[in-house]
């Protein structure tokens, strides 16, 4: 029996109406491409914290972190700790983000052009888009699956498709009209609604399941491995090491994240946004993780054949009371809309700024530039809709996300660090890094899908495949750069002082 009633529907309706109005109202200030893409670099600290937190928590985040809790117990929140450490370190030291913000760029590939040339800028743009589209392709489907499970809608008919389409239309409307400005304003509202919903539902979940029952369920199913990631047979050192690489590279190079750095008022604000949001990244894994553990404890000993990704929403659909159910759905819609809008805008900015640049006329008017950006965001929305329906997701969602993200993270992190801190770095190294960084994870994804190689893919595992990608991509940058004759490097390098852009 599900508790979603017309009262909850009313709460969700009011939330959607307020968000849409706020998102659309600010469109009148968008007269330039720079305002559309990075809000005219006017983002201050607390708006930045709310926006970063809301962007990096979507329904897909909630689903995979809850699945981690269900499948690995408390140890499933380990990536959250790693994220917090990475954000704090990068914010505290200004590692890479300081030179990045000072360079006055709009996208990461634009920064690479200074050191590695135009060809690497285009290639980086393609890799970022390829990885981003594969990664974000499953967001809408996860959102639809969650909403259907938690509201108790029957899965028959085209309800999933209709839910996904409506969600996308709502997000596209304000993103297309107001760009980053609408995204920041709606992110703020979404952060508040999402946070109140997450905290209230967590209190109900822990009260319903009982803390000692949750601890016992984890102990019963996973033993020491449910608490200690190094003792968990499905995690271990390789999981922790691979995830350390992934989260650090994510903090440094994920376009929706660095768009907050680039939209920040100044370097100090950008760094503070990172340090002060760092604790949120533990909450991001811990809160849905607790929901997943509560779902595990509700099943008793019988977990055989349970769809681990849907265990949490099915459980919430039963235990969350009327009224709070509306807040939960509004909170999850808030989380999802803020993520979808930010990601579409971020990847749209790379397509416009880096990939389409050679095809654009010189001196394109601001009005035409805005039209291009809006068309790109709309096209991305259509792609996400069809990809989400078509792609048959296999294995845990977090694993899929880390493998697809590695296509871009490994090489982009190597390029960024080398670009900022190694004067000898050049385009030979960059090409080697990009090629290896993309080929290894794509090969692994294909091996997973082809029956003849599935066994070998399972033997290698996503963690070792990912670690190999990061190590080899970094080595390719070093070796490739050293192989290029020095006189050619001198011609390529920008005029800045050592260690600076």
């Amino acid at each position: 029996m599900n508790n979603f009633t017309w009262i909850d529907g009313g709460i969700v309706g009011v939330y959607l109406l307020v968000t849409m109005i706020a998102g659309i109202m600010v469109r009148k200030y968008v007269g330039k491409v720079e305002t559309f893409l990075i809000a005219g670099r006017e983002m201050k600290l607390y708006l930045g914290i709310a926006s970063l937190a809301a962007t990096e928590f979507g329904i897909v985040t909630c689903m995979y972190t809850a699945e981690n809790g269900f499948k690995y117990g408390f140890a499933g929140a380990t990536p959250g700790i790693l994220f917090a450490l990475a954000y704090f370190f990068v914010g505290w030291t200004g590692f890479c983000i300081k030179p990045m913000r000072e360079a006055g760029i709009v996208t990461l590939p634009e920064l690479f052009e200074n050191r590695f040339g135009t060809r690497i800028r285009r290639l980086s743009g393609v890799v970022i888009i390829l990885s981003g589209l594969l990664n974000m392709g499953i967001f809408l489907r996860m959102g639809g699956d969650f909403l259907i499970a938690v509201t108790g809608m029957p899965e028959a008919g085209y309800r999933l498709e209709i839910t996904m389409t409506l969600l996308l239309l709502a997000v596209c409307t304000y993103t297309i009209l107001g760009g980053m400005l609408s995204v920041l304003v709606t992110d703020f509202l979404q952060f508040v609604v999402m946070s109140v919903g997450l905290l209230a539902v967590t209190a109900v979940v822990v009260h319903h399941a009982g803390w000692s029952n949750m601890v016992q369920a984890v102990d019963h199913h996973y033993g020491a491995g449910g608490f200690n990631p190094f003792a968990n047979p499905d995690m271990g050192w390789s999981f922790v090491l691979f995830n350390s690489f992934v989260v650090t590279a994510c903090v440094l190079t994920l376009q929706p994240v660095i768009q907050r750095v680039l939209a920040a008022k100044d370097v100090k604000t950008a760094r503070q946004v990172f340090t002060r949001t760092s604790v949120f990244f533990v909450c991001r894994f811990v809160i849905p993780g607790l929901w997943g553990i509560a779902a595990l404890s509700s099943l008793g000993g019988a977990t055989e054949g349970v769809d681990t990704i849907k265990a949490m929403p099915n459980y919430l659909g039963i235990i969350v009371p009327t009224g709070l159910m509306g807040l939960l759905v509004a909170a999850m819609l808030a989380a999802d809309m803020s993520t979808d809008s930010s990601y579409m805008l971020a990847y749209g900015s790379v397509i416009y700024n880096d990939i389409l640049a050679p095809f654009r006329r010189k001196g394109i008017s601001e009005r035409r530039g805005l039209l291009w950006n809006r068309l790109i965001v709309a096209s991305l929305g259509v792609f996400f809709l069809f990809y989400g329906l078509w792609y048959p997701l296999k294995g845990p969602v977090w694993t899929y996300l880390t493998v697809t993200a590695t296509i871009c993270f490994s090489s982009m992190a190597a390029l960024l660090i080398a670009c900022c801190y190694w004067r000898r770095a050049n385009d030979w190294g960059a090409i080697g890094s990009i090629v290896l960084g993309a080929v290894i994870p794509i090969t692994y994804l294909v091996m997973e899908q082809v029956p003849a190689t599935q066994e070998m893919a399972a033997w290698i595992g996503p963690n070792w495949s990912g670690i190999a990608t990061f190590v080899l991509s970094g080595l390719a940058m070093v070796i490739g750069s050293l192989l290029k004759p020095t006189h050619a490097v001198t011609r390529m390098a920008p005029a800045g002082p050592e260690g600076e852009i």
């Binding site: 600010v26 009148k28 200030y29 007269g31 305002t35 809000a39 005219g40 006017e42 983002m43 201050k44 600290l45 607390y46 708006l47 930045g48 914290i49 709310a50 408390f74 929140a77 700790i81 400005l181 920041l184 304003v185 703020f188 952060f191 508040v192 946070s195 109140v196 997450l198 905290l199 967590t202 601890v215 102990d219 033993g223 020491a224 608490f227 200690n228 003792a231 604790v279 949120f280 533990v282 909450c283 811990v286 809160i287 607790l290």
Partner: protein
Amino acid sequence: MNTGWLWFWEVVIVGCMLWYTLATVYIAIRGAADIRGMLARLREDYESDNPG
């Protein structure tokens, strides 16, 4: 059960919930002021670019 790890997760969870509750209230207040300031500056820019 490893009580050391259980203790670790309990501290992390309680700390997170407390931080998140306080941060939500504080950011809601200060973030609203940031939005007002940002829109005011963009309005000035817009009006100077489009006089009349």
